[in-house]
């Protein structure tokens, strides 16, 4: 890497309730305003107070795709953090702590211990979180940043609490800053500045905002980690943006409300995690049968069952594939990162509108609760909106987008004008009238029906009509999926190893590939985003040339590996898997590739390809 390159990871460790979020946010804003890139991951527990949290904030002057491999600076908010993590700190790293309460242990050579006598520095403030502000000042000084940036952000962060609070914080920060300048080893090379300020968001914000720009008018949710951030964003912004938000009594209500609003013509979506998604599955099948477009997001966490609510996993792929009984058409997409998620929501809405069917999106805790910098110019905030064949006004008024069928020309047309909601067409797509349009009345039924929407059980359970309707639905889907972009191989066309991943592993695999390249191992990477439709032919073609295929996924059973095989017949030569709740770090994948190449990986099950499972050294 070039000498001007800057890549630094700050860890903040403490207990829930110690206010880790605030210094985290302040540091994040400080860096992105400077135009630096950010990738942050918060390893925490499912409790509200106590326990242990480690927030890793990685900043760099080049785009980041993972939260990195190590800590360069550790801020300990309690003794527990010191005890757990001091041993992970290498030569040249910093350890900042409140020396009134915390004692350091054995350190590796060259670790800079930075004790802060907080009581002294804050005139014996009894405010427990003041240690965080002092430390912030010290960190800025260590990094060689000007104090003014921090001052401004403290003003913004604490402004609404009044001038006294701001002053108290600025003073504390300054004391920390000055103490550090006076007593600690400081980072010598200056921290670069990016070409322009960046913004910062969590993946859940990206999902919500992706919905808003794509025209979501109805959002429903029942709180469930790690998806709740989408609800929080929507609730906070809905009134200003004209989005109706409902918290349902349960996920059954949420999914069914979403379909109700969608049926009326709104773009509607909802988000949950696996357990709530289980409760939504029946409704998703209904949307398939009624041909109602709506989006259901499953933010995966470590399962099974309640599992580990604050930990990540890519464990719900087969749940999504098996969501609801019978055969029906639906999209399944697993975006690569927050920005991709932002764009994928709109893309998925267009597809579901055109194909008149539900869409499922799979993200995970890593994307959804991660905090990332984003370049606002990279965000397409005015995406193309294609609602497919939608009838919002009677024929005489068609083209009048505000039309509602309520015109004298058309009368009230109490009787249907020959409109067939589920008409057989060449494309399989039947133009969809939304309720309220005169002369287009029909019943949308979860029972099998004929072109007119009439239950096939209502006359005679006609096997020929049944077959034709199944084929009509399949046909429309085939017609629309031509629009979906096929996956592409990243890296050199010929490589020793081809890494295949799906969804959120995109970034970490890219970083691992770069590290491997630096180690002289040539790898390329096939990241899969579209689960359904799956581009079997394209994937088969790409992988036909692969010397050694290794599949990387964040689950136990190799859910993607088995799905890939079901769609292409391709069995990988080996696997890299992780299912301990923590996401991959780049070096886990590097180690896996090296071990596979060295032939040292074994399989837990005889007759199966070898599986490399990295140790989680960190956060233990």
């Amino acid at each position: 890497m070039a000498s001007a390159s800057f890549d630094f990871v700050i860890g903040i460790g403490g207990a829930a309730g110690q206010g880790i979020a605030t210094p985290g946010n302040i540091l994040a804003r400080t860096f992105v305003r400077r135009g630096l890139h950010l990738n942050a991951y918060n390893a925490h527990q499912s409790i509200i107070r106590g326990g242990h949290i480690l927030l890793s904030l990685r900043v760099a002057n080049a785009p980041l795709h993972s939260y990195g491999d190590q800590l360069d600076l550790l801020l300990c908010l309690n003794q527990d953090t010191m005890n757990r993590h001091l041993r992970h700190m290498a030569a040249g790293s910093w350890v900042v702590f409140n020396s009134d309460d915390i004692v350091p242990g054995e350190t590796a050579a060259g670790v800079h211990l930075c004790p802060l006598p907080v009581a002294e520095l804050t005139n014996k403030s009894r405010n427990k979180v003041m240690q965080n502000t002092v430390a912030l000042g010290a960190i800025l000084a260590i990094l060689g940043l000007e104090f003014s940036t921090l001052e401004e952000i403290l003003q913004q962060e604490f402004g609404r609490k009044g001038a006294d609070v701001v002053r108290e914080n600025v003073d504390a920060a300054r004391a920390g800053y000055e103490r550090a300048q006076a007593e600690f080893t400081l980072r010598t090379s200056p921290i670069p500045t990016g070409p322009k300020p960046l913004a910062v968001w969590a993946g859940n914000d990206a999902l919500a905002m992706g919905g808003a720009v794509a025209g979501v008018k109805f959002y429903a949710a029942y709180p469930m980690s790690p998806s709740t951030g989408v609800l929080h964003w929507m609730a906070a912004n809905a009134r200003e943006l004209g989005i109706l938000v409902r918290q349902g009594e349960d996920e059954l209500a949420v999914a069914n409300m979403t379909i109700g609003a969608a049926h009326m013509g709104c773009r509607a979506m909802c988000a949950t995690s696996g357990g709530g998604f289980a409760l939504m599955t029946e409704a998703i099948g209904m949307a398939g049968m009624m041909e109602t477009p709506a989006i259901f997001i499953n933010v995966q966490r470590a399962g099974p069952s309640t599992g580990v609510p604050t930990k990540t996993e890519q464990g719900d792929l087969w749940q999504a594939l098996g969501a609801s009984q019978g055969d029906f058409e639906r999209f399944i997409v697993a975006p690569f990162d927050a920005l991709d998620a932002f764009h994928s929501v709109g893309e998925l809405f267009n597809l579901t509108d055109k194909a008149q069917c539900p869409g499922i999106m799979l993200t995970d805790l890593l994307i959804s609760e991660g905090t990332f910098s984003v370049d606002p110019d990279a965000m397409n905030t005015q995406p193309t909106i294609d609602r497919g064949e939608l009838i919002t006004a009677p024929p005489a008024l068609n083209g009048d987008s505000a039309g509602n069928g309520d015109s004298a020309t058309n009368g009230n047309a109490p009787h249907p004008n020959g409109y067939l909601r589920y008409a057989y067409t060449d494309t399989g797509i039947s133009p969809r009238a939304i309720p309220g349009v005169a002369g287009h009345m029909y019943v949308a039924a979860s029972d099998e029906h004929d072109e007119d929407g009439i239950l096939i059980s209502d006359e005679f359970t006609n096997p020929h009509k049944r077959r034709k309707m199944v084929e009509k639905r399949a046909q429309k889907f085939r017609h629309v999926i031509a629009d979906v972009s096929a996956p592409a191989l990243l890296g050199p066309p010929q490589a020793q190893v081809t890494l295949v991943g799906w969804g959120s592993t995109h970034g970490v695999i890219q970083e691992a590939a770069a590290q491997l390249e630096a180690q002289g191992v040539i790898v390329n990477h096939l990241p899969i985003k579209w689960i359904v439709p799956f581009h079997s032919a394209e994937v088969t073609r790409i992988l036909a040339d692969a010397a050694q295929i290794l599949i990387v996924e964040n689950n136990y059973s190799g859910q993607f590996a088995r799905y890939l095989r079901s769609e292409t017949g391709i069995a990988a030569h080996g696997h890299i898997r992780k299912y301990d709740g923590e996401p991959f770090m780049p070096h886990h994948i590097v180690a896996g590739v090296q071990a596979h190449l060295a032939g040292t990986v074994t399989s837990p099950v005889p007759d199966m390809p070898p599986i490399f499972i990295p140790e989680q050294e960190f956060v233990v």
Partner: protein
């Protein structure tokens, strides 16, 4: 734009401007009901069709949502927009639909199993939200479509295919449940008393808020306990009694009577609490969400991005 509106005042037979008045047969659906001859649901269907005509409603401005069951086949027989959804989920779908287009009249129809059994949670929560829906439950004290099992309204001792030796469970009283959950219009009808039922349905549709009508609608095939004679001998209209519909205690007391007398009529109503749509700032604008422009304007986007920096 003008949007189809629900009659705001109790005008009995004036359709909205420019609309021809319709009569009950204009509300006949595309197919004839396949209910058993004599099924109570026929009576309910007739009454809904008559009430709709008398209120001057227009088929395309009505959405009729149901679940699954004999009674939930209703939308197929009623000329309006319909959604024949999942067993137990009609109120949830209807809530989303009403939010999506709050200018439509949303009528929810279903059975006792659908609404009080599997759908019980949506029932109480929809009631407390006081969303402007009319919910008609064809209560036959049995699971009809699945050929006769216990329903949550089956009496203790009821012998059904799932309780051949008599049920040991106490039934639910849906009138009490909806009053206590917060419904602002709670009534009971009898499919055998059409004139009365039409009147209840009209009141319920005109009521701004969650209106619940539990209708005795006998299943002539699977429930021989609660047949027409059983109800004919017992039902008494509350309108013929001294009953104060604003008095919850009197309402509950009357709802608990289940002997030689069983009351029908409006048990309870409250007109003050605003309906959910009227409390939702996003719906202040009359244009239904479904007809509003999609996406965000530059100002909105700038503001959002500024907050992220």
């Amino acid at each position: 734009m003008t949007v189809p509106t629900k009659p705001a005042a109790p005008v009995e037979s004036a359709p909205p401007d420019g609309m021809i008045p319709l009569d009950a047969k204009d509300f006949k659906g595309k197919v004839n009901p396949d209910w058993c001859p004599g099924c109570g649901d026929f009576g309910v269907l007739n009454c809904v069709q008559r009430a709709s005509a008398e209120l001057g409603l227009q088929p395309h401005n009505i959405l009729n949502v149901s679940g699954i069951g004999c009674s939930s086949n209703f939308p197929g027989y009623f000329n309006a927009y319909g959604m024949h959804t999942l067993h137990g989920r009609s109120l949830a779908v209807a809530t989303g639909a009403k939010m999506g287009n709050h200018q439509m009249t949303v009528l929810v129809t279903g059975g006792d199993g659908d609404g009080y059994g599997i759908g019980g949670n949506h029932f109480t929560h929809t009631a407390r939200r006081n969303i402007d829906l009319t919910y008609i439950v064809m209560n036959n004290q049995i699971y009809g479509l699945t050929t006769g099992q216990l329903s949550p309204t089956s009496r203790e001792g009821a012998r059904t295919k799932s309780s051949p030796f008599g049920s040991v469970e106490t039934p639910i009283n849906p009138i009490l449940m909806s009053i206590m959950a917060g419904a602002t219009f709670v009534a009971r009808g009898f499919s055998g008393d059409g004139k009365h039922l039409i009147d209840l349905i009209k009141q319920a549709i005109l009521h701004k808020g969650f209106a619940h009508i539990d209708v005795f609608s006998p299943c002539v095939t699977f429930n021989h306990d609660n047949d027409y004679p059983f109800f004919r001998q017992r039902v008494k209209r509350l309108e013929d009694e001294e009953h104060d519909v604003h008095d919850w205690k009197a309402a509950c007391e009357k709802a608990m009577v289940w002997d030689d007398t069983i009351y029908t009529g409006v048990f309870f109503r409250q007109d003050d609490p605003p309906a959910l749509e009227d409390k939702e700032p996003v719906l202040e604008d009359d244009t239904p969400l479904a007809h509003r422009p999609l996406g965000l304007n530059d100002d909105q986007i700038d503001k959002l991005i500024r907050r992220m920096m």
